[in-house]
């Protein structure tokens, strides 16, 4: 192997097209380098045909199914925790009874002391907690109204980004499109679960988190369009 041969190898390793051209004349005279250059060119020309494409009608439903299972597993996890076997108490049986009795006495005394602050509200059939301590229907309507406006703004952004995503022609845009499909699927699943339990704030927070991710992704898509 002579210096020119080494130069060709170095140029091929660096992928330096200009350097390869400078040693092309040598490759026409040197059998080894000629073969190498021809082989590398042939490989580079044939390689793109290794890209495979095939229909996978079951793949996406399988992914959806796994996502749903995961999401249900996540929401069921606290329940499993509650049901997990507990260690049997080692203290005498009368201690919990005494604790409940003490709690009852303290609560009763407390109610007597703070009764004026509660006004006319009823508790245990006599006086009650203030109504706004829980998520009332009115508060829920407010939350749902705000969420609807937030979602509408994101869907508007999605409509603006739609032409760019439909004509996606780069790996980056294709990846964004796949990510958005994934997020939409998660949104549909969570929305379905929320329909079953509109007062579940944990699910609502999860849904808003996914919407925030969608908004961020759409912004990235649009940023790419304007840059």
């Amino acid at each position: 192997m002579i210096g020119e041969c080494r130069r060709l190898d170095a140029a091929l390793e660096a992928g330096d097209a200009a350097a390869i051209e400078t040693v092309r004349a040598h490759a026409q005279e040197c059998v080894r380098c000629g073969e190498r250059l021809r082989a590398f060119d042939e490989i580079a020309a044939a390689a793109p045909h290794l890209k495979k494409s095939w229909e996978s009608p079951e793949l996406w439903p399988r992914i959806r199914e796994s996502l749903v299972k995961e999401s249900f597993a996540a929401s069921a996890a606290p329940v499993e925790h509650e049901r997990s076997p507990r260690i049997a108490p080692t203290w005498p049986a009368w201690i919990p009874i005494a604790a409940i009795a003490t709690l009852f006495v303290v609560s009763f005394v407390g109610l007597q002391v703070f009764r004026p602050a509660l006004g006319d509200r009823q508790i245990f059939g006599v006086r009650s907690f203030p109504k706004d301590a829980l998520m009332t229907d009115a508060a829920l309507q407010d939350v749902e109204k705000s969420e609807r406006e937030y979602v509408r703004s994101i869907e508007n952004l999605a409509r603006v980004a739609e032409p760019r995503l439909s004509a996606a022609d780069t790996p980056l845009l294709l990846s964004y499109r796949e990510k958005l499909l994934l997020l939409d699927s998660a949104i549909a699943e969570l929305s379905g679960q929320i329909e079953q339990n509109r007062y579940n704030t944990h699910l609502r927070r999860q849904l808003l988190g996914i919407y925030a991710e969608k908004q961020q992704t759409l912004r990235e898509v649009m940023k790419g369009a304007t840059s």
């Binding site: 390793e13 490989i43 495979k52 095939w54 790996p171 990846s175 988190g209």
Partner: protein, 157 residues
């Protein structure tokens, strides 16, 4: 994504499993991703890692490309001449013989069209290593292709 997984794992069924696993990882970690330009490299990194996990579980390298092209599932581009077709088949078999890292670099550069900088970020290797792996991979492919039947090449790398 299915294509790189298919070429790394050697068959469509394993490739779909790897893509499914990758999608679940992407879904779980989507909220942690930041930085637009690196998103595609991040996605590919997850897919390639899922393939490596599958290879580790399998403990053996793929014996070679499966003959799925005959079952009508694949929509490969038509070859212009029979020799093109033979070269592609031989190349596919030879690529399957490469070590996983060399195979990954070759596929990402020559098939998927990534730059060495992007490959470095996908595989977490230095850019120079990516170039060296590609060169080594091509030298091996040259040697293996030269020994295929009907080839007159006698040059050793």
């Amino acid at each position: 994504m299915k294509s790189i997984a298919r070429n790394l794992l050697g068959n469509a069924a394993d490739a779909e499993d790897a893509v499914q696993e990758a999608f679940l990882k992407i879904y779980r970690n989507a909220a942690t991703f930041r930085g637009g330009a690196a998103f595609s490299t991040w996605i590919y990194r997850v897919v390639v890692n899922a393939c490596y996990d599958a290879l580790r579980r399998r403990k053996t390298r793929p014996a070679g490309p499966s003959l799925e092209t005959e079952d009508g599932r694949e929509l490969a581009l038509p070859a212009r001449t029979p020799s093109d077709h033979l070269l592609r088949l031989a190349l596919e078999k030879s690529v399957a013989r490469l070590a996983p890292k060399h195979r990954a670099v070759f596929l990402l550069f020559e098939v998927e069209g990534f730059t060495h900088g992007e490959i470095a970020r996908i595989l977490w290797i230095p850019e120079g290593t990516s170039k060296t792996f590609l060169f080594d991979a091509k030298k091996k492919l040259q040697r293996w292709l030269a020994t295929r039947p009907g080839t007159r090449r006698t040059v050793s790398p």
